[in-house]
């Protein structure tokens, strides 16, 4: 697999990126928030135009939210399956949208906003996708502090 090509490509944009390859063949990359669009554009020219999902992880200990982008290449037997991760703050979670580079990210970002409360600037779908429309504004159920209180809120 052409790991070295991908490594050099990303290091040329973001020199502080960290790489890790685990036993099952996955390739995990951590970069800074500002370089996200440049990295995705560069990877798309190399053939990475399929996005599986966008995952949001809630870290109460570091007071941050981590976003993972899972990408796959057009020729998947030569290039590895990547996961790119960025970290944003938990008190005011905001990031810009990437749906101009990868159009399928529109619906994944809408789901992350609905359930974790991360705002994506530039995403045209601003209303809740999965939860009903009368759930109050700052109720985002996947955060760790919500245990039993949600359905009482909906019942009122």
């Amino acid at each position: 697999m052409n790991d070295e090509i991908i490594k050099e490509l990303i290091l040329s944009i973001d020199s502080s990126a960290r790489f890790e390859r685990d036993k099952n063949g996955r390739f995990w990359i951590k970069i800074y928030l500002e370089n996200l669009k440049a990295v995705l554009r560069c990877l798309k020219e190399k053939g990475y135009d399929y996005i599986s999902a966008i995952t949001a992880l809630d870290n109460i200990k570091n007071n941050s939210i981590e976003l993972l982008y899972h990408l796959m290449n057009n020729s998947p037997r030569e290039f590895p399956y990547l996961t790119i991760s960025i970290t944003i703050s938990r008190d005011d979670p905001k990031v810009y949208t990437v749906h101009d580079i990868l159009p399928a990210a529109l619906i994944h970002e809408s789901e992350v906003f609905d359930l974790m409360g991360v705002k994506f600037e530039g995403n045209p779908l601003t209303e809740r996708l999965l939860l009903p429309g009368d759930v109050p504004e700052n109720v985002h159920p996947l955060k760790k502090e919500f245990k039993d209180s949600v359905f009482k809120v909906i019942k009122e």
Binding site: P132, D134, F151
Partner: protein, 396 residues
């Protein structure tokens, strides 16, 4: 001058609740806005309070048709977190369950598709052939619909030699029936007039919008997890990938019928070559996992199923993310319906094989304060009915 047409969530042409708003001019559709969330049960948050062994039993209740796929993918991910490998016989039995489930799901879909086109006799024929598959499942695993054959480290029950003989006889019978259905569809002018050229999806759109499953393969995009990163025993089996170029509803039908034939070949190979030995590894029911994260992807009957697990060293997972294939196919549906007639809406929506119950299984509904973790559908259904009546269907 465009009018708005509201479709769903309760409609005779739909099998599961989903709401679309179509903007129409005359008879042609100009714009589509989907609205999902009527079947939302909050299973991603529920999985954070179940142990590693119990997680598969919650995951398989996400969908009734593809429950074997969810069960196997969940336990494959848990095995990757712990770093254990199931034995060979266990992997063969797991692949057998996956391929038999693909046959039963495609037969169900074929019946529903022809029922939407107005051909009810063949709908009954397809579902009759599917009943024989359910009998095989009942003999092997104990239940007809939610089989729960997998566990961490292998499978829970063994298969006998007499079961494998019955499987081979069923494969011979099904091969003739698959040929009968294909001749029927390609030779009948009414069915061809309803399916050919309807709801096309060009290849560039299918690639850029990340379509998955037979929807992508019918438009010429070579996307199949069994080809990209082979798992279980697929790299030794006679698997081949089916592609078509046109991208309309007829191409999706032909791709699924050909996949039934490929599954029959794989089942015959499994029945002849299954090795002897153990079928599972001993695993304690309540145990702590090492700190790790893992991704597990398989090819469910509808497309690529994606599970992500994160463990913080406890007895329960700290985060589970599930992305089902129907969720990824919503944007291609919006694209393929532009410019089509209103009368083609049920055919277009049914041709992506929608499993709306799979689409909405994210976060919490931890409802009663006594911490019972069974989520009941009744209150959710009445809440959704009340919301729909109040909002009048208008959301975007």
């Amino acid at each position: 001058m465009t009018y708005n047409l509201y479709f769903g969530p309760i409609h005779p042409a739909l099998k599961e609740p989903i709401n679309f708003t179509f903007e129409i001019e005359g008879e042609r559709i100009v714009n589509v806005k989907p609205n999902i969330g009527y079947n939302h049960r909050g299973l991603e948050k529920l999985l954070e309070s179940k142990t590693w062994l119990q997680s598969g039993f919650v995951a398989e209740h996400i969908c009734g048709i593809c429950s074997g796929a969810h069960n196997g993918c969940c336990y494959q991910g848990v095995e990757r977190i712990f770093g254990i490998e199931p034995p060979r016989r266990g992997l063969f039995i797991r692949t057998l369950v996956w391929e038999l489930e693909r046959i039963h799901s495609h037969l169900l879909w074929l019946g529903v598709m022809l029922h939407e086109s107005g051909f009810d006799t063949v709908f009954m024929y397809c579902w009759r052939d599917r009943e024989l598959t359910m009998d095989l499942f009942e003999e092997m695993s104990g239940r007809r619909v939610v089989y729960s054959m997998n566990t961490v480290g292998g499978v829970r029950r063994d298969v006998t030699v007499s079961f494998l003989d019955k499987l081979k006889k069923y494969c011979n019978y099904l091969e003739e029936r698959a040929k009968f259905y294909e001749d029927l569809i390609m030779g009948d002018t009414t069915i061809l007039a309803r399916l050919q050229g309807v709801a096309p999806l060009p290849k560039s759109d299918a690639a850029s919008l990340s379509a998955v499953g037979p929807v992508a393969r019918a438009s010429g995009v070579k996307r199949d997890v069994r080809y990209e990163e082979p798992y279980a025993v697929y790299d030794e089996s006679p698997f081949r990938i089916i592609l078509r170029e046109e991208g309309d509803a007829l191409a999706r039908t032909i791709v699924r019928i050909e996949e039934i034939k490929v599954s029959i070949d794989i089942l015959r190979w499994i029945a002849d070559n299954i090795p002897q030995g153990d079928y599972k590894i001993k695993f304690p029911p309540i145990t702590k996992a090492p700190e790790n994260e893992a991704i597990s992807r398989i090819e469910a009957p509808r497309g690529e199923l994606f599970y992500y697990f994160k463990s913080d060293g406890g007895t329960t997972p700290s985060r589970v993310k599930v992305r089902t294939p129907t969720f990824a196919n919503i944007l291609p549906v919006v694209k393929m319906l532009e410019g089509q007639y209103i009368a083609d809406i049920p055919i277009a929506v049914a041709s992506i094989d929608p499993c709306i119950a799979c689409c909405e299984r994210v976060t919490l509904i931890d409802r009663k304060t006594e911490k019972t973790t069974i989520v009941t559908m009744d209150q959710l259904r009445s809440h959704s009915k009340k919301y729909y009546k109040k909002a009048g269907g208008e959301k975007f």
